[in-house]
């Protein structure tokens, strides 16, 4: 991109991203300066994610002792993101984007694993709240109707050292490989069916209806 128009388009794209987070564009859209382009796996669209220099990102906020954007239930939301990461990041030696889509039930199972035994309604409520928050911020893409969850474009902003920590986290989370029915805080995947009621039977894109 060159000249006045290019600069204006860039400024516009940045303003949009500032207001709305990562931008979903047609696959052939130009990439403004300072943004990274993430193609959708099926090639129908591309995401433009603003990437700011290290010296201007949220770490500087911490350094300055300023509060970042307020996040409700930060711990539960972080756990839910960790659960999604565990389900959607198939090979931790690859970049997390685009990852594979996971069934909502699958993510919820891992999430329940992370939060420990909870009242079913409370569990469901905090999971949905967390999914909504993360979906809105672009950390994951939640197809509520299809009951499918996958990682959002913002995960591409994690730096190399961040990913090293996340790999560690990935390994520490237990993945319910063949039996998503099990919600149990123990590390035994095949262990006793716990206190939690049975979730969706299969990790297919089944309807995520309330129980």
């Amino acid at each position: 991109m060159t000249g006045q128009d290019g600069a204006q388009d860039t400024a516009l794209a940045w303003a949009r991203a500032r207001a709305a987070g990562p931008l979903r564009t047609p696959p052939d859209a130009p990439v403004p300066d300072g943004m990274i382009r993430l193609a959708e796996p099926d090639g129908t669209a591309a995401w433009l994610v603003p990437r700011v220099p290290d010296t201007a990102d949220t770490r500087v906020l911490a350094e300055l002792g300023l509060a970042g954007p307020l996040l409700e239930m930060p711990n539960d939301t972080a756990r839910l993101l960790a659960a999604t990461l565990r389900c959607c990041w198939e090979d931790p030696h690859e970049p997390p984007w685009p990852g594979r889509p996971a069934a909502e039930a699958e993510v919820l199972t891992v999430f329940g694993d992370l939060t420990g035994p909870r009242d079913e309604a409370a569990h469901r409520r905090s999971a949905v709240a967390g999914l909504r928050r993360l979906d809105q911020a672009g950390w994951l893409l939640w197809d509520e109707a299809a009951g499918a969850v996958r990682l959002g474009p913002r995960v591409a902003l994690w730096s190399g050292s961040d990913l090293a920590v996340l790999r560690q986290l990935w390994r520490s989370i237990n993945f319910p490989e063949c039996s998503p029915e099990i919600i149990t805080p123990t590390r035994d995947v095949t262990g006793g069916a716990g206190q939690a009621p049975a979730p969706e039977p299969a990790p297919g894109p089944g309807p995520g209806e309330d129980r």
Binding site: T55, E63, P69, R79, L81, D113, G116, P117, S172, P185
Partner: protein
């Protein structure tokens, strides 16, 4: 300033630093003169002596002073020192005889040296940047003047070249060798420098346009300015490197920033942030924080239980305005409206409401009447009529006509 002659008063470190700064400038400015007079200034006290001598002359009036009178006026200082400074001042013409004749005993002082002294102290305090600005304006005026000659232009250029070379040298030496503290102290040489440079460039442009033959001198000035810019960059880079990614704004006092934020126009304010980029306002998930959240999860969380209530209290809090037991509430409403009717069968709503001292109490009365009307256990009826009563001297000013009455069948 010390009081007695030779009295050994130990000045504080701050005093010493201030004196040292004055002395440094003074020494720089007078080195040439003093060397000629074979009198270098070697201690800050000498400056005070100079000031005292000139002060004595200022007080003396139009007659002038003899050498003895000066010595008497300056008796606070060691006599030998006063004598020596007197000779020095006379040597370069700051003090001269009232009449130039062999046996003249009276002396007078010129005002220029004292002004020089004030000027030097000011430069030492403020770094001399405003003087530099004034110098630049003066140079600009003199080279723009109709009567200016090529000679003037050349002289102007040479002076400016000298000035900028000297500043650049001082800065680059400091940015290479001095510690950051010293650099920060001399930061006034760094800020506001764009205006200085652009004014010098103005002078340069005027001279070059008027006398193109001076291009060699102009080139020197350009080189001097470039050296100054480089020195600024080097010094600023060292300071910024020290300040870190948080860009500690300690370079300038906080008030300076506030003033700027309040007085700058939008463009200048925006220019400050031109090189800053902000992230979209989405929450950021630090992997470390995620790990901590995951590790702290899984522990059974204490379920939130409502605090225990005293047994037997039931669901009726003993609050006056709270919705108590329906029976109690009905009773209370009944009592209130019975009081309102005060034995009569029916009451006009406007009277009842306007009898209340203010709107909140009138509202409460209306609420009680309405409640009584709807309560099947209470024999009261609220009847609304047509039209509004308006009276701006009353509260409430507007009341719908109507009446509140005890049912006929009731006691």
């Amino acid at each position: 300033m010390t009081d007695g002659p030779g009295e050994a008063v130990q000045p504080g470190l701050d005093d010493l630093a201030g004196e040292a700064a004055v002395l440094r400038i003074y020494r720089q400015a007078f080195a040439v003169l003093a060397r000629e007079a074979e009198k270098m200034i070697l201690s800050p006290q000498l400056l005070d002596v100079d000031e005292a001598i000139l002060g004595a002359f200022a007080e003396s009036g139009s007659d002038g002073l003899t050498e003895e009178q000066v010595r008497n006026a300056c008796r606070r200082y060691p006599e030998a020192t006063v004598n020596r400074r007197f000779e020095v001042l006379r040597g370069y013409g700051a003090i001269s005889k009232v009449f130039e004749r062999p046996n003249e005993r009276y002396y007078r002082a010129a005002f220029a040296p004292y002004i020089m002294l004030l000027f030097l102290r000011r430069i030492a305090e403020r770094g001399g940047q405003s003087e530099l600005h004034q110098l630049l304006s003066m140079e600009h005026e003199s080279v723009s003047a109709e009567s200016a000659t090529q000679q003037d232009g050349r002289a102007s250029l040479e002076r400016l070249t000298q000035v900028f070379r000297l500043i650049a040298n001082e800065l680059s030496i400091m940015s290479l060798g001095a510690d950051v503290e010293q650099l920060r102290e001399n930061a006034q040489l760094l800020w506001g420098n764009e205006a200085l440079i652009s004014r010098a460039e103005d002078v340069h442009a005027v001279v070059l346009n008027r006398w193109p033959r001076l291009d060699r001198e102009c080139q020197w000035l350009r080189a001097g300015l470039a050296a100054y810019k480089d020195a600024i960059d080097a010094a600023a880079a060292r300071l910024i490197e020290r300040a870190g990614t948080t860009r500690a704004l300690g370079l300038l006092p906080a008030e300076e920033w506030r003033t700027f934020a309040r007085t700058a126009d939008i463009d200048r304010l925006g220019a400050v942030l031109e090189t800053f980029v902000f992230d979209a306002p989405g929450p950021w998930f630090d992997p470390q924080a995620m790990t901590e959240a995951v590790e702290s999860g899984g522990r059974p969380e204490a379920a939130r239980m409502p605090p225990p209530r005293p047994a037997g209290d039931g669901d009726a809090p003993g609050d006056d305005d709270g919705p108590g037991d329906p029976k109690d509430a009905g009773d209370r409403v009944g009592d209130t409206v019975a009081e309102l009717l005060a034995g009569s069968r029916s009451v006009d709503i406007a009277d009842a409401l306007r009898a209340a001292p203010d709107w909140p109490s009138a509202r409460r009365i209306l609420a009680h009447m309405t409640a009584a009307h709807h309560d099947p256990d209470l024999p009261y009826t609220l009847t609304w009529g047509e039209g509004l009563d308006a009276d701006d001297t009353e509260t409430p000013a507007w009341v719908t006509r109507g009446s509140f009455a005890r049912d006929a069948g009731a006691s």
